[in-house]
């Protein structure tokens, strides 16, 4: 048991270390700056969505619609390029993400419905919208040179996308650990009723959490579309499990109230380096899916094994309760 607790505490370091060591042994030339830069760029997509999800999970909620918002925002930003120019289109794309998040948040807070079920439904809605707008065909942007510029590496290490991810995650870390609103997010996630009694506007925090997550998914989608100069309604459908896995690897609990931005950084790096290693070995995408699924399940089970003891019955928040609906949305 003690071993499990230790393993669970240092899991990010252990898993990241193991991944790097094994990959370095198996894949020739793995530990080079160019691989790192490529992996970081690849991980940035997962990472940006994971930033939003970290905040939501700490607040005891979840958003499964991230992948669909990712696709929708990207499509909007590409389609509008012809009409209003590239930068305004990108901004509108990010706004689409924010609006999608606001819809999720308003429905979860307003209907008092479990966020898992609700965002499952909105995922279907956003994904259908993406197919609707594009007629299920991929769309292409106007300026391919921009994609090249965005994909350029600076300092032989960072692309714009990965630099943005690193900056945002550091900011998030500061916000979560150093500010009062950040602390309130933890309070809302660990005990909604107590947080409310202490005068924290839980509903508002949950709502803003969804808006934040939607915005970040939108940002990730817009960047992806700009880099590839394409928007496709099927983008991001395989991201959901990978993103949740990354956040959970980082030690953020599905139970709410626990988690950290730096942990998520570690989790994202782990999933990213794992993906790159598997791609170098030309392992098919469906096997990669199996791996991220396995990581997710094993870690969630580990979390349960470690946390079941020591908590009074009935004090587990939103996501793991036996009947989540009555409590889940009810903050």
């Amino acid at each position: 048991m003690r071993f499990l607790v230790l393993a669970s505490q240092y899991r990010v370091l252990i898993m990241l270390g193991l991944t790097l060591v094994i990959s370095a042994l198996v894949v020739p030339g793995y530990l080079s700056a160019s691989t790192f830069s490529l992996g970081l760029d690849r991980a940035a997509t997962i990472g940006l969505i994971a930033i939003g999800l970290t905040v939501l999970l700490i607040a005891g909620q979840i958003d499964l619609s991230g992948g669909a918002v990712f696709a929708l925002a990207g499509i909007v930003s590409v389609i509008l390029q012809r009409e209003i120019g590239i930068l305004p289109a990108a901004i509108v794309g990010i706004l689409v993400g924010a609006v999608a998040g606001a819809v999720n948040g308003a429905l979860v807070v307003g209907l008092k419905v479990n966020s898992l079920v609700l965002t499952l439904a909105t995922m279907l809605i956003f994904r259908s919208l993406a197919h609707w707008i594009t007629n299920s065909q991929p769309v292409t942007g106007t300026d391919i040179m921009l994609s090249l510029a965005l994909a350029k590496t600076y300092l032989e290490m960072f692309t714009i996308r990965s630099a943005l991810f690193i900056v945002l995650i550091v900011l998030l870390h500061a916000w979560l650990t150093r500010t009062i609103p950040g602390r309130n997010v933890f309070a809302v996630g660990s005990n909604p009723a107590a947080a409310k009694e202490s005068g924290i506007a839980s509903d508002r925090i949950v709502f803003l959490g969804f808006v934040f997550a939607g915005t970040l998914a939108g940002l990730a989608g817009v960047l992806q579309s700009l880099v590839t100069n394409t928007g496709s309604p099927v983008f991001g459908s395989e991201l959901t499990v990978a993103v949740i896995a990354a956040v959970v690897v980082g030690g953020t609990r599905l139970e709410g109230g626990r988690g950290s931005a730096l942990g998520t950084l570690g989790g994202v790096l782990t999933i990213g380096s794992l993906t790159i290693a598997m791609e170098f070995q030309s392992i098919p995408a469906y096997v990669q899916q199996v791996v991220s699924g396995l990581i997710l399940i094993l870690l969630v089970v580990l979390d349960r094994a470690v946390t079941t003891k020591g908590r009074a019955p009935g004090t587990r928040p939103a996501l793991v309760r036996d009947k989540p609906i009555t409590q889940g949305g009810k903050i």
Partner: protein
């Protein structure tokens, strides 16, 4: 203040059962019947093709394939298991294996083995949800991803074709003018209905979903009941996948994607509570009939597929929101 105390401690809620009020119950039944009637009326006025034998038989056949999954999914929702998202994986498992194994072991053993392996995926879901206490949606999402990946890896990510004409004839055939698939669905629905409403297992399922702690205290094997619901769903969708594969005579790895949403929509639209503890198979099937007819009318009207997904999503949000509003228990 008492309200909030009860809210955080699931153990001490004042109400002992989940029970919709009679009025709500009657209203929702009448509402569903009216909705089905409205769709039928609209369909018959709007499209001359709606009330033809061919069209209705098509609706019935496609309804049956989803319907088998719906019967299982009803158990999951009633037992308080939220939803099973591994359905695409179990359907793919059923379809791919029942076609792919035909040359080696013959059609019937292939079908049985396919359904059994799908059941194994369900067992894994059940262990994670019922015994390890993992959130059902996360668990089934993860297990579904793993299962689908393994099935794809097993066949190398390609399309599998059927090789046994006799089994195809059987699956596509008719008995007394009714498609065999429809008959199989009816039999499964009847069994599901009796198990849920008349057997000890059904009572346990309702009790577990209604009040987990009370059921546990009354010596109901709650963990097994919850796990069982996922096994039932997996067996049902494995069977549904097998039948789908046999009728199409080909199976892609992604053959089952979207079925989880069709099934969940049908069950919640039918008024089965997503909180658990309330619902029946006939209700879920009524929801299924409504959703399928609505989809059919949309297809006949030339509405594009994405809009149908959009409507399904809105229906889920609406039904779940109404459910939460009408059946809020204990807490005001």
């Amino acid at each position: 203040m008492t309200g909030t105390t009860m809210e955080i401690s699931g153990v001490n809620r004042t109400d002992r059962f989940t029970r919709g009020s009679r009025l709500v119950d009657a209203l929702s039944k009448a509402g569903l019947a009216l909705a089905i009637l409205a769709v039928v009326l609209y369909g018959s006025f709007a499209s001359p093709a709606f009330f033809t034998t061919g069209n209705l038989l098509n609706v019935l056949t496609s309804m049956s394939i989803v319907g088998i999954v719906v019967v299982g999914m009803t158990f999951v929702l009633v037992a308080g298991g939220l939803a099973d998202l591994s359905v695409p994986a179990t359907i793919a498992c059923g379809a791919i294996l029942s076609l792919g194994l035909q040359p080696m072991i013959g059609p019937v053993p292939a079908f049985v083995l396919a359904v059994a392996l799908a059941g194994l995926i369900g067992l894994l879901n059940g262990m994670l949800v019922g015994y390890a206490g993992i959130n059902p949606i996360i668990a089934t999402l993860g297990v579904g991803t793993i299962g689908l990946g393994i099935v794809q890896a097993a066949v190398g990510g390609v399309i599998v074709y059927g090789s046994n004409t006799a089994s195809a004839e059987f699956a596509k055939g008719r008995l007394l003018g009714i498609p065999v698939v429809v008959l199989i669905f009816l039999v499964i629905a009847l069994i599901g209905h009796f198990v849920l409403s008349r057997s000890f297992w059904g009572r346990w399922t309702l009790a577990t979903g209604g009040n987990y702690s009370a059921a546990e205290a009354s010596a109901v094997p709650v963990k097994a009941v919850k796990a069982g619901a996922f096994v039932i769903t997996a067996l049902a969708s494995g069977m549904s996948g097998g039948l789908l594969g046999l009728t199409l005579q080909s199976a892609r790895p992604l053959i089952g994607s979207g079925y989880e949403f069709s099934a969940i929509t049908a069950v919640v639209v039918g008024g089965v509570s997503i909180i658990g503890g309330f619902g029946s198979v006939p209700r879920a099937i009524a929801g299924l009939v409504f959703v399928q007819l609505l989809t059919n009318v949309m297809v006949l009207q030339g509405v594009r597929t994405p809009i149908q997904g959009f409507v399904l999503g809105i229906l889920i949000v609406g039904a779940v929101g109404m459910d939460a509003a009408l059946r809020k228990r204990g807490v005001a």
